[in-house]
Symmetry: none
Subunit: 124 residues, 2 copies
């Protein structure tokens, strides 16, 4: 073979804005070692849009501790598990969870991680 150091990266463009998608496509077209995925092809890497609709930059303000708790919640951790892994009491874990539900405008922990994921606060 012609000694490929590594197989070309297959990249999918998953951007709703057509103009931006087009621009990305032409930019990547000239890059060696990269190939754009055919429609329907399973790519290993994707280019995705990351900004909120521009009016909704609702950077929900979470404290460091709340982020810790939120991350564990997204792993399905119970209050007891959160407490153990963070070295705090169950009561404190519940305290943080309660704040999270409040800030994320959620009715329960499942709703909370779903909201957080939707708003880009966490990445699943």
């Amino acid at each position: 073979m012609s000694e490929e150091t590594s197989p070309p990266l297959v990249i999918a463009i998953d951007v709703s804005d057509p103009a931006l998608a087009d621009r990305l496509a032409s930019l990547l077209a000239g890059v060696a070692g990269v190939r754009l995925a055919a429609p329907g092809e399973t790519a290993s890497i994707a280019l995705v849009s990351r900004d909120q609709p521009a009016g909704e930059r609702s950077e929900i303000e979470l404290t460091p501790r709340e982020r810790d708790v939120l991350a564990l919640m997204a792993e399905g951790a119970s209050n007891k598990a959160i407490a153990r892994q963070l070295g705090i009491s169950v009561h404190t874990a519940k305290f943080h969870v309660s704040s999270l539900l409040d800030k994320l405008d959620a009715t329960g922990r499942t709703d909370a991680v779903a909201h957080a994921a939707r708003r880009g606060v966490i990445h699943l």
Copy 2:
């Protein structure tokens, strides 16, 4: 290039595999019109990993009813709420939830929607 027709695209690399992330970074470094986001900077576009762990292309098989229940779970609905909206008993709702926990290999409903989202079974 007499003039910049548009500002450079700020791209974030959000890939867990360090080697792959590195490769992407060096590939993109030489592309005109593209700039890599600084750590913490809010990028408009992100490169994300898209493939399952390669052995686990597990198109998890859910029954139609299970998809209904899963969608409601992702909205934070309780078993009672699921039952009411689907016109079934709470027991049946619990039955479907239980099947979902099993199929999604989750420890609880929060874990279930997180897993489903990660595996692309649902979109948040």
